[in-house]
Symmetry: C2
Subunit: 357 residues, 2 copies
């Protein structure tokens, strides 16, 4: 069985945006653990290396220099501090970089290395516990999670807005949208299900077909963060919601819901829905995580469902609800109701983070 | 910034054995969460698809049919129940499949689908809470975790041995070994560190070199489960320990430690150590997770360390200690002391699972 000295080839596996549940961030039930996960280097590598994300922020900040020049800024959840640096580059007088994780110490080093230590004040802690010396002209934050609202850092941005933003001050970005489309995944889900029909029988002479139903239940009970190819989409996408960061309230975010109706491109089996978001900055600058755009570290989110045969112009209708978990407001519960044409309506519940509480 | 309708190619990412910390199993601080993670389908897909693992067990069970024919068996941590099925195929009179996670229900279905429901009794719960109707002739278990002892399911096997194995009964496998070798990783770690020197400067005109030290600290503070190519190894491996499952005690497993001395192949920079295990069954059947053998779902475990220049015949010496966490016996703390030739000794501590408690 063992042959200790047969060299094997190194398989170079890239881990950019693989099919997975949320794996990079450890999600247990308290904020401490949430903030601790952001002290880890991997998530910051991913974010800095994500040039779609970071370049969109850089462009938005530099192009809005008129609003930032000689102004004060809060960077909410500053991470490595790169957005604070961009703001100083755009001419900001002073930036308060608020970061609850231990990354806060790194921001100080970064500010010094870029000769900006006099213009960036690092505040190590939760924004909600902070007493800033002044109100600010601008809030900048990269608060978006998978499916936009997973992790709910948006609430801290709204807290900053309500407590520290001067009247007439700006928020970057100031607008967010959630999108959805039905998909036919023939590449990923079907092989994972048929695995149980074939592999154990072929390899070990065991009938494990009974596991298929269980696998289906498991895969349909949580959202999958994955890179969705454009050709999976089986209708034009639909916008589910518009969030105006100047007016939205924390209460509005407890539950986000929308009805949908898609008209299918052609004959296929719909076996899921893809959800993604975009955010907008003043000056028509958009950061999109659409499957039709360059991939970002957010990828897209897939909600698998019971397979539905459709034809050209079939109507796929239903309702999507994203609800914050009561046990941990950073977690999401998703309820999807869906049907095609006159098929009967089905319901599927998904839990994103935590254990379904 | 956004270009909603430019189709992108689907990148087909395989997720077999990627560079990562332990991501498949959620690791929080109690057994419930440990067992819940095994109700998830992915880990079972990985294990069944791992033909090195499953075929080694199948071969070992079928070739030892003389010890199993008309005998009774406990399958400790039965998972999908595949090892229980193999035992019935080998002629076992009765198998008690003990499984604490909700997979227990699937084992019942599997036994029925293979017409073995009268010869497999599924016991849903922890072995330590079970009252079996009889002692058994054989214990079979696939208890091994990353670095062998991560997750410590071995303790349940020893409990089964001490409480339910007849005198003269057998354990499959009955022997385990841990191995180690120094490595020079030029493919993975150096680009992750130099990322901070180059990418932010090139892409965003920001000096983020200060993050390099932080990245190094992060990457050196935990073990990395990854596929190590044979050519990274810079000396012949050394065996760290031998575990005889007939005689080892739970107390023996609290801390496993060994000194090592490697003689280097040639001039290079050692920047870590690779650790792996093998287990042996009666009849000279071995399941190896060596970097020189076919890859398994366990991959290997890498402990990165400070870079050490070495020459041909340089001696790399030190001491490795694997200690169970007091807060959660399934987690491991690893302490590595190491030096090359007459360089001064360094020490690095790694935490595997949990938060370093």
């Amino acid at each position: 069985m063992s042959n200790e000295f047969t060299p094997i080839d190194h398989k170079n596996n890239s881990d950019h945006c693989i099919v997975s549940t949320l794996k990079k961030r450890k999600c247990t039930d308290d904020d401490n653990s949430y903030f601790r996960s952001y002290a880890d280097i991997e998530i910051h590598e991913d974010m800095i290396a994500d040039s779609v994300r970071t370049s969109a922020y850089r462009t938005a900040i530099l192009k809005n220099y008129r609003q930032l020049y000689k102004k004060t800024v809060i960077d909410v959840g500053a991470g490595t501090g790169i957005l604070s640096i961009f703001c100083v580059q755009a001419g900001a007088k002073h930036v308060y970089a608020v970061e609850a994780s231990d990354m806060a110490r790194q921001i100080e080093k970064l500010a010094a290395a870029n000769n900006m230590q006099h213009r960036i004040t690092v505040l190590h802690g939760k924004l909600e516990d902070m007493n800033l010396p002044e109100s600010v002209d601008c809030i900048v934050s990269e608060w978006m999670g998978h499916s936009l609202l997973y992790e709910s850092m948006l609430e801290s941005v709204l807290y900053a807005r309500d407590h520290w933003l001067k009247p007439g001050g700006i928020i970057l970005p100031d607008h967010a949208q959630l999108f959805m489309a039905p998909i036919a995944d023939a590449d990923h889900l079907p092989p994972r299900l048929s695995f149980w029909d074939t592999v154990p029988q072929d390899m070990y002479k065991i009938n494990m077909a009974s596991m298929r139903t269980y696998a289906e239940q498991c895969l349909m009970s949580r959202p999958h963060v994955m890179e969705v190819p454009g050709y999976w989409l089986q209708s034009h996408p639909q916008k589910l919601c518009d969030i105006d960061l100047y007016t939205v309230t924390t209460a509005d975010l407890k539950t986000i819901e929308a009805s949908f109706e898609f008209s299918c491109f052609g004959s296929t089996d719909i076996n899921g829905f893809v959800v993604w978001f975009s955010v907008r900055f003043p000056g028509h600058i958009t950061l999109s995580t659409s499957p039709y755009d360059s991939v970002t570290h957010w990828c897209q989110t897939v909600l698998y469902c019971q397979s539905m045969p459709v034809e050209q112009d079939s109507k796929v209708q239903g309702h999507l609800e994203l609800r914050q978990s009561q046990a941990n407001h950073r977690h999401l519960h998703i309820t999807l109701k869906y049907r095609a044409d006159d098929q009967s309506e089905l319901e599927q519940v998904y839990s994103m983070g935590g254990d379904g509480s």
